[in-house]
Amino acid sequence: MRGSGRARLILALLLLTAFTLITLDYRSGGGGPLRRAGNAIFGPIERAVADVTRPIGSFFASLGHLNSYKAQNRRLAQENAQLRQRLRLTDPQRAQLAAAQKLLHLDGQAGFRIVAAQVISFGSSLNFESTATIDVGSRDGVKRNETVIDGDGLVGKTETVGPTTTTILLGNDPEFIAGARLARTQEIGAVYGGGRSPMTFRLLDSQAPMHVGDELVTFASLNDRPFVPEVPIGRITKVVPSAGQLYSTGRVKPFVNYDAIDVVGVVVAVPRTLPRDALVAPSPTPSPTPSPQPSPAGNASPTGSPVPPARRTPSPSGSP
């Protein structure tokens, strides 16, 4: 066998180095200096290349999602309006809260500040991970563990933040966990990204009712990081029988099509005086009346009924 001695020595040295790196990074708990350096070095390259290859990649991607490709055009145009609407109103509780804040003269004082971003690359690492890079970073005010949303709902959370690029953990990654509650009954639980299997929701109270079609929204994290409240996640498609378990489980079809995300927004946490203040998006024209009045011509307005109306499904194409 050729070069046995020397080759084995070199291989041993390399493996040892790799083990050392693994140990160091494992102890730093992720997002370590090397990874940030990777973001700083490779991020700009990926960005530049993405400018050229995005149409190519989108073309291939679109072969699987021709419908969503069309829908995306419309979505981009409506994104701003939709984000505002979604953030302002998802259910009656939200509307009540807005009214309460009116009373406190807090409406419009603070809100979600959203940094818009575009997805430049996706990760897979031998098909185990579901991550993406977006083209904003610490220079744009993005920090680790912040909520990432798009016009349809929850996309994920930020992980390693570089100067101009940020890695985000997508909602369908097996490591993804977010506090969630059923919008209708306020019952809390958690959603688990399932990788290539379906996303699941575990309802903490196994006696509480859960039905197919129920909608899930995020449950606020401590200090709203990583997750701000009330962001739509998905809809229950199947309730799994939970005999003898401490929680009941449901399958979730997310509103976001994780294969086709493009324009996203990072909710940049803003300092504020009241914890619930950020629930309300800044209104361009501060209206004197609180919003829970059902609007007469509101065909798309989610106000008015105690049960949130069926939100449109994010994409007409089939699930991945």
């Binding site: 790799a18 990777g38 990926e46 995005r54 291939f60 690359s121 897979s124 031998l126 299997s197």
Partner: protein
């Protein structure tokens, strides 16, 4: 020297193309891994030492390339092993297409097993039986399909940079 520059150029191209283009494509099971194919090509053409070194560097780059989100060093270790093993097959003078395909399939299996094994040791929640099975299937299937296009091109480029052949 020229070979090192070539290796860097090929590998960087492969890594960025992987992240920017290939990973956008929604395929059943998973996606092919361009950088792994490059490592195999380097090993097959230049022997175990070069294969291991290139594999380590490619793996490390893939570990820190932005969307990656696992413990740093896992791919470096897996790819170094793969490059070394592919290099051991270098001696086979007349490689048929079939033997190259066999090497690619074997090397892909090794890469996934080492990467997943390390992940399991470190308590990575992504490593489940179903995920490993799916990843193994995807690695073998797609890497083998892509190998006849990638490996000869990379090997040819390497041979052209070394005068001794």
């Amino acid at each position: 020297m020229r070979r090192a520059a070539l290796a860097a150029a090929v590998v960087l191209t492969a890594l960025v193309l992987q992240a920017d283009v290939i990973n956008r494509i929604a395929l059943p099971l998973g996606r092919p891994d361009l950088s792994l194919l490059c490592v195999i090509a380097f090993g097959l053409t230049s022997g175990p030492v070069y294969g291991a070194v290139v594999g380590f560097c490619v793996g490390l780059a893939a570990d820190v390339l932005p969307p990656a989100d696992h413990t740093l060093g896992r791919l470096a270790l897996a790819f170094a092993a793969v490059g070394y093993l592919a290099g051991l097959v270098e001696d086979v003078e007349e490689r048929s297409v079939l033997s190259t395909v066999a090497v690619v399939a074997g090397a892909s299996l090794v890469a996934v097993i080492v990467f997943a094994g390390l992940g399991a040791l470190l308590g990575d929640g992504r490593i489940t039986g179903a995920a490993v099975a799916r990843s193994l299937a995807a690695a073998v299937l797609y890497d083998v399909v892509l190998a006849p296009f990638v490996v000869p091109v990379v090997s040819g480029a390497i041979r052209r940079t070394e005068p001794a052949g």
